[in-house]
């Protein structure tokens, strides 16, 4: 391929990517009334980043492909973590050149980002941290290397409850901490790690307040906006993001005081779980809320699970801090790659109760075997607890929207009838 052809192709991909993002943003913003004013910050952030290609972050960018990458360590070593997980159909199509067509769209799209050298501002990427979670992510790591990127393979055990697993992960994170300065050019010190833990902690605190406000009935915020807030954490400047979340929290508290309802007062309350919605793939969340449901909580690695648990440090010396960071990532993780799904079940049941949920929507990306495999037992658990659920298998292409909207609407309708009958 000649240089001109390559540039032409890249230009087209960039345009398609921008258009996809713009279309989703229009749907998010204009498709619903009464968006919180504080959400403008996020709509604008996504528009600038995805449609206008503005660099939101500068510095030694370190790409990450999983929530299991300890951000604190990257920051402490002077790096700027940017999560590369991508939700664009355009990027999925780019990635499909390198992976089997039936593989997970999220993995394909993330690989697509790296192979298309887009967006422009990611060009300065110093390297990628790839966690060896599922087979596809693990193998994608070596494909990234083939693409010319420096990749750190952060090894994660397939179980999390045993002592050997914990030690394995601790070793792995320690190795990562040692390797980081090479990527970032900075130095990881006791002070820098302490500051990074505290800074992340402030962001998490803001997020937890935000998360708790979603328990209110009637709902104060639509789930489509909540997903955007979580997604922004992927790439936004940490302090600016924290401030924006605090502003949103203040507005939601005011909404609560005013007795405001973001959806119809009796709109069925949905808990979203499974494969993570990543902008611009908010297909299923949008269908749920267009059908008259409201997503009040989620158990996914693109928002709630990413920010919920905080690091607990016993001794503020470097080695103890690194181990404490490692523990915060392994123990609460409910990724389906682990042998046991007991934690995920427990968390779903707790959330269903805490957020007064009427039903669960479980999304699996076509090609994600582990989420598909867990679906049966999760479904049985929910069934036994009397919580209705809808299982949806989908990908990034828009061609199943008609069919999915029927299923989602029928599910919302059945939740409404169920409640009417219960009265």
């Amino acid at each position: 391929m000649s240089e001109t052809q390559h540039l032409r192709r890249q230009e087209l991909t960039a345009k398609q990517h921008a258009r996809e993002a713009a279309e989703t943003l229009t749907r998010l913003e204009d498709g619903f009334p009464d968006n919180p004013e504080a959400m403008s910050y996020f709509y604008d952030l996504f528009r600038r980043t995805f449609c206008e290609n503005e660099p939101v972050q500068t510095g030694p960018l370190v790409g990450t492909t999983c929530i299991q990458v300890p951000d604190e360590l990257v920051r402490a070593a002077g790096g700027v973590p940017v999560r590369l997980c991508n939700g664009a159909h355009t990027m999925d199509q780019v990635g499909a050149e390198f992976m089997p067509s039936k593989s997970c769209p999220l993995v394909k799209a993330t690989l697509g980002v790296l192979h298309s050298d887009l967006p422009e501002w990611l060009k300065g990427l110093k390297g990628v941290v790839n966690v060896t979670t599922c087979d596809q992510k693990r193998k994608a790591g070596s494909l990234m290397e083939e693409g010319g990127y420096a990749v750190h393979h952060l090894e994660i055990p397939p179980a999390k409850d045993s002592e050997p697993a914990r030690n394995y992960w601790r070793e792995s994170v320690r190795d990562f901490a040692k390797a980081l300065p090479e990527l970032t050019g900075g130095k990881l010190t006791r002070r820098s790690l302490r500051d990074a833990i505290l800074e992340n902690g402030r962001a998490q605190q803001a997020y937890r307040r935000f998360h708790r406000l979603r328990r209110e009935k009637p709902a104060l915020l639509l789930g489509k906006d909540a997903f955007l807030v979580g997604n922004a954490f992927f790439f936004d400047d940490l302090d600016r993001w924290t401030e924006a979340v605090e502003a949103l929290v203040a507005e939601l508290e005011q909404r609560h005081a005013d007795g405001f309802s973001a959806a119809q007062k009796r709109a069925p309350r949905i808990l979203f779980t499974g494969s993570p919605p990543v902008f611009p793939n908010l297909k299923v969340p949008l269908l749920i809320e267009q059908a008259g449901g409201v997503i009040v909580a989620d158990e996914t690695c693109s928002s709630n699970r990413m920010l919920y648990d905080a690091v607990t440090v016993d001794e503020w010396n470097l080695y103890d801090m690194v181990d404490a960071v490692a523990d915060r990532y392994l123990k609460p993780c409910t990724c389906p790659i682990f042998t046991s799904d007991a934690d995920r079940k427990r968390r779903l049941l707790e959330m269903a109760k805490e957020f007064q949920v009427d039903g669960v929507v479980y999304q699996t990306f076509a090609g994600c075997q582990v989420f598909e495999m867990e679906h049966r037992s999760i479904n049985q658990t929910l069934d036994a607890a009397g919580i209705p659920s809808l299982y949806v298998e989908t990908d990034y292409s828009p061609d199943d929207v008609g069919q999915l909207s029927t299923r989602v609407e029928a599910f919302i309708e059945s939740l409404k009838t169920r409640r009417r009958r219960a009265r």
Binding site: P388, D399, T406, E409, E413, S414, T417
Partner: protein, 272 residues
């Protein structure tokens, strides 16, 4: 007299139903969806009214369902075809016993629905985006075998030997597979039966996902195909309820829901 209408705008056909205050089905109409579904739907609706001798203003409420439900602005409300199908089947199947499971095969999807004693949806399953084993596939197969769609049932019962296994019920690959079978010397009867059994197996798997309970009601256009019905009954090992209104059950359900919605509105109107 006040009337209520249900319009089911499907991928292949548009079905309209008119009912009176006693939920009695007065008239129905089935027309091809075509490329201008909005026009086809209005047309079918007006022809039905003309035949029934009912004036447009006497239709108090219209509920739309099916793929085109949201784009049909003449309707007062829209509802998903799963809810509408369940309500219609419960009512139409009442004479046959306690219907708890509904199987529907449409133009581009198939569904299994489990309902409670009032026709409320308890659980449902639907094929994913692939249209394998749906009405569209039967269409394609009939065309490839150069027989009329209506003849499929007749061919099924002419089977002498064993039906060949049909591996792909994909509408796209049907052609090459069927041509291969013909080339290998299989008769049209064998192939037709093979198609019916493979659709039946696929659909029964879907039904088992929601749980088969009580009487099983089978509707949608393909329910008019006696050969497919026989294959389904063998696979399911139970007798199916095939309503007279197989193709318009969902539109009928929408009409019943239209009546309920109109009555609810009336009550609310009096209340304020």
């Amino acid at each position: 007299m006040t009337y209520y209408a249900g319009i089911d705008i499907g991928s292949t056909a548009i079905k309209t139903v008119l009912i009176d205050d006693g939920e009695e089905l007065l008239d129905s109409r089935t027309a091809p969806t075509g490329s201008h579904f909005h026009h086809s739907a209005l047309d079918a609706f007006e022809v039905m009214l003309g035949k029934a001798g009912v004036a447009r203003e006497d239709v108090a409420f219209i509920t739309a369902t099916g793929y085109g439900r949201k784009l049909f602005r003449e309707a007062d409300e829209s509802i998903s075809e799963i809810t509408a199908n369940a309500i219609g089947a419960k009512k139409a199947g009442a004479a046959f016993g306690d219907v708890r499971t509904i199987i529907n095969i449409g133009g581009q999807d198939s569904k299994a629905i489990r309902v409670d004693d009032e026709g409320n949806v308890v659980q449902f399953a639907m094929n994913d985006k692939c249209a394998a084993g749906t009405g569209r596939f039967l269409d394609m197969a009939a065309r490839n075998l150069e027989i009329d769609l209506e003849e499929l049932g007749t061919y099924h019962f002419m089977l002498k030997g064993a039906p060949p296994p049909i591996n792909s019920t994909c509408a796209v690959f049907a052609e090459s597979e069927l041509i291969g079978l013909l080339a290998n010397g299989h008769s049209k009867e064998e192939i037709v039966a093979g198609i019916h059994y493979s659709i039946a197996k696929r659909t029964v798997r879907l039904a088992k996902r929601v749980g088969v309970d009580g009487r099983v009601y089978f509707d949608g256009g393909p329910a008019l195909n006696r050969g497919l019905v026989a294959a389904m009954e063998e696979e399911l090992m139970t007798e199916l309820v095939i309503p007279e209104i197989a193709q318009v059950t969902t539109a009928y359900g929408a009409a019943i829901l239209a009546r309920e919605a109109a009555l609810d509105e009336c009550e609310e109107g009096h209340g304020t």
